[in-house]
């Protein structure tokens, strides 16, 4: 799983040539890795238990959210320790529309993305005035406040308060012979690929170069005539929309939304996933998602009483071994092997 998760979308990066300063892995190799990754990704649900399919779906959902965070932090240089909020908004949008609006899941997905885009864009406006550490704190404040807002009296009639809302999980349509776990796996896979493709192209486009110019040198970017405010808020919106889609998917996959599902622990988890996967790397998001799902389980295996300490120790170890994240490590290894051959 992890092998596939680290490389499956790697080739995509070459196509857009997003990060010029990086010595790239040859495009051919990336394409081959993508193809192999895709074949494995398609074959897997027919080879493993439903529970594992569910886990893999969760990995992809986290990866989508981390991808969104990556666009914001990795490519635009804006911190966020509050992306759990947008996941929550996406999840609740889907849950509420399905519960009270009689919507089908698929109809709620774009609405969740749109709504999150708007909220993210609006949050991006005040964020413009906040520099790195202050922005990190403001977003963290958002993450801390989210569960309280969700269960507060004014919202309770819609959010179900502390009890949360149960969500119906769609079955495969048109008599496709897949169970609901497999079906949602493929739905998530396709959405994830589309979003990754979009991210790659965005990053490789003029817009992407402007985003990165703002990250690297805002003053020079302004001098080049880039509308910094517009780009920053739009990036915030797009990033939030990614998180919203992840939230929407998670609502139906988990079949339940509750304030306790979206605490600041989730926000911090996404941030950890981003750094571990590799800041500024699109395939790294998948590794980050896998880290989020599997490492707590490993930590718990090591010790029940010290699960938290084990998790912390693993985290430190990973940071030491790959300070540039999994993507950085893979890049370094591949380059080393290639150089030796050459």
């Amino acid at each position: 799983m992890t092998d596939q998760s680290m490389t499956s979308e790697a080739p995509a990066q070459g196509r857009g040539k997003p990060v010029a300063e990086r010595a790239g892995i040859p495009v051919g190799l990336k394409r081959a890795a993508l193809l192999i990754g895709l074949i494995i990704a398609i074959a897997l649900p027919f080879m493993v238990k439903n529970f594992t399919i569910f886990q893999l779906t969760t990995v992809m959902i986290y990866a989508i959210a981390i991808l969104g965070l990556n666009l914001l932090t990795g490519f635009n240089g804006q911190f966020s320790l509050g992306h759990s909020t947008f996941i929550a908004i996406g999840a609740y949008t889907t849950a509420i529309l399905m519960e009270f609006g009689g919507f089908g899941f698929y109809a709620t997905l774009p609405l969740a993305a749109l709504f999150c885009f708007i909220v993210g864009f609006l949050f991006g406006l005040p964020a413009l005035r906040l520099e790195s550490i202050y922005l990190a704190l403001a977003t963290f404040a958002l993450a801390v406040a989210t569960p309280q807002l969700l269960k507060s009296a004014p919202f309770e009639p819609w959010t179900g308060g502390v009890q949360g809302l149960l969500v119906f999980k769609p079955e495969a349509p048109f008599g496709i012979p897949l169970n609901s776990d497999q079906w949602m796996y493929f739905v998530t896979l396709v959405i994830g690929l589309v979003l990754a493709f979009f991210a790659v192209n965005l990053v490789g486009s003029r817009t992407g170069r402007a985003m990165m110019a703002i990250r690297d040198n805002p003053i020079a970017a302004r001098a080049m005539g880039i509308n910094i405010a517009l780009y920053k808020t739009t990036t915030f919106g797009v990033s939030a929309a990614y998180a919203g889609i992840a939230g929407s998917l998670s609502a139906v996959v988990v079949q339940f939304v509750a304030p306790d599902s979206f605490t600041f622990v989730l926000a911090i988890g996404l941030f950890v996933g981003l750094v571990i996967g590799g800041v500024g790397s699109i395939p790294g998001a998948l590794f980050g998602g896998a880290f989020l799902v599997y490492v707590p389980n490993i930590a718990e295996e090591l010790s029940k009483g010290l699960a938290g300490a084990a998790y912390g120790a693993i985290l430190l170890l990973v940071i030491y071994l790959m300070p540039a994240g999994a993507a950085g490590l893979v890049r370094a290894i591949v380059m080393k092997v290639l150089n030796r051959r050459a």
């Binding site: 439903n50 529970f51 569910f54 969760t58 009890q163 949360g164 988990v254 622990v265």
Partner: protein, 404 residues
């Protein structure tokens, strides 16, 4: 078969086995001649990790049982996972237990939102979600959720008990309520209101707190200012202790009722100060291990010996260890009754077939009863008053059934 013939059968077991068809030796997933695999989900990490003690106690108790030969000759294999009190993770862990580890059932999964997340799944899969560790009322709904059962007295019952006490003894009271702003706090408050019935306007102030509040000082000041003369504190130990101390500090002298969750002498009243805690009312269903009156009680001694031998790093002043111990004993009873018919259906059947079952660490007079229509194992509680050193039980054992 040979093994079974070697096993010394307890009276109850023999009865249960006798009640089954003679050929009965049917196994559901996770059960075999030699072992029974049970799942459990607890928050071992994250902000709610205090509750992890319950999971660890249960594990220790089954280790003890296994060392003594297991149940009906079968070793108990407890697979306990961490969900960090996050509902999506609970779903993942529950599915792992059911689909990958293939446990016979899930026992004592902890928390209301977390159990809600898997409520439907467990019932669709027809896997028992047995004796969940939460006091919400919704777990006792055999018509709609026949595979889910609670264990502890539900919060609403407790609220009703306080209501009837107040109606009887303080009919002219003005009630102030401090409650934790989550399912547990709101449930208990609801019970209190239901119990007051048309006298609900006796409540002059309800003030919530968040677990993220450092102190409840501000809330207590507001409650005092409301003119209340009865204070009902629906709070977890830390905040209950804070409220007891702040009430004393501010020179307010209401009749103070503190909910059962925070009845621990060592874990709440001592930190709050015995002087400050004198006269406080509460209810109980378990024996408080830090209450000196149980020091010579045989059941207490048995529990203490268990703790020393099997869970020495555990905290003997924590009520969670008593809770886990008693819950595990209840399950032991169910498994003994199930005998060799270790199917999921029979587990639920036996869980719903507990009759006047007594547990050493429950208060004298409190018994566990379940039936096809009664999925609330413990429904009785007793009022008690803190005399400055220990709790004094008073009044009858009260049945707080929600329907009653």
């Amino acid at each position: 078969m040979i093994k079974r013939s070697l096993t010394v059968l307890a009276g109850m077991t023999a009865l249960a086995v006798a009640a089954l068809p003679a050929s009965a030796q049917t196994y559901g997933p996770g059960a075999s001649d030699t072992s029974i695999k049970i799942g459990n989900i607890n928050p071992y990490s994250g902000p709610a990790s205090a509750y992890g003690t319950i999971g660890k106690t249960i594990d220790a108790y089954f280790n003890k049982l296994n060392a003594e030969g297991g149940i009906n000759g079968r070793q108990i294999e407890l697979v306990s996972y961490d969900d960090g009190y996050s509902p999506p993770k609970t779903v993942e862990q529950a599915r792992k237990l059911v689909e990958s580890d293939e446990v016979l059932f899930i026992f004592q999964s902890l928390g209301t939102p977390t159990n809600t997340a898997i409520h439907k799944y467990m019932n669709v899969k027809k896997v028992p979600q047995l004796f969940v560790a939460t006091g919400a009322t919704k777990w006792g709904d055999p018509d709609n959720f026949p595979w889910t059962m609670g264990w502890q007295p539900n919060y609403q019952s407790e609220g009703r008990i306080y209501a009837s006490y107040i109606l009887e003894n303080e009919p002219d009271a003005k009630i102030g309520v401090l409650y934790q702003n989550d399912d547990y706090g709101k449930d208990l408050l609801q019970g209190l209101k239901d119990g007051l019935g048309d006298k609900v306007d006796m409540i002059v102030a309800e003030v919530p707190y968040e677990t993220s509040d450092p102190t409840v000082d501000s809330q207590i000041i507001n409650l005092k200012a409301s003119g209340a003369d009865v204070l009902v504190t629906i709070a977890t130990p830390k905040f209950a202790a804070q409220s007891i101390r702040k009430v004393a500090e501010s020179g307010w002298k209401p009749l103070h009722i503190v909910n059962n969750v925070s009845q621990s002498v060592g874990g709440v009243l001592k930190p709050a100060g015995f002087e400050n805690a004198k006269g406080i009312l509460s209810t109980a269903y378990t024996k408080d291990p830090t209450d000196p009156q149980w020091a010579d009680d045989p059941a207490y001694k048995e529990w203490a010996a268990f703790m020393d031998e099997h869970y020495p790093e555990g905290d003997k002043s924590s009520s969670f260890t008593v809770y886990g111990y008693a819950a595990a004993q209840t399950l032991q009873k169910v498994l003994e009754q199930a005998g060799d018919d270790l199917t999921r259906e029979n587990i639920m059947k036996q869980a719903a077939n507990l009759n006047d079952f007594e547990l050493g660490m429950l208060l004298p007079g409190i018994v566990i009863n379940t039936s096809d229509t009664d999925f609330f194992p413990i429904e009785q509680m007793q009022m008690m008053r803190f005399n400055g050193e220990g709790w004094e039980l008073f009044g009858p054992v009260i049945d707080g059934s929600v329907g009653s």
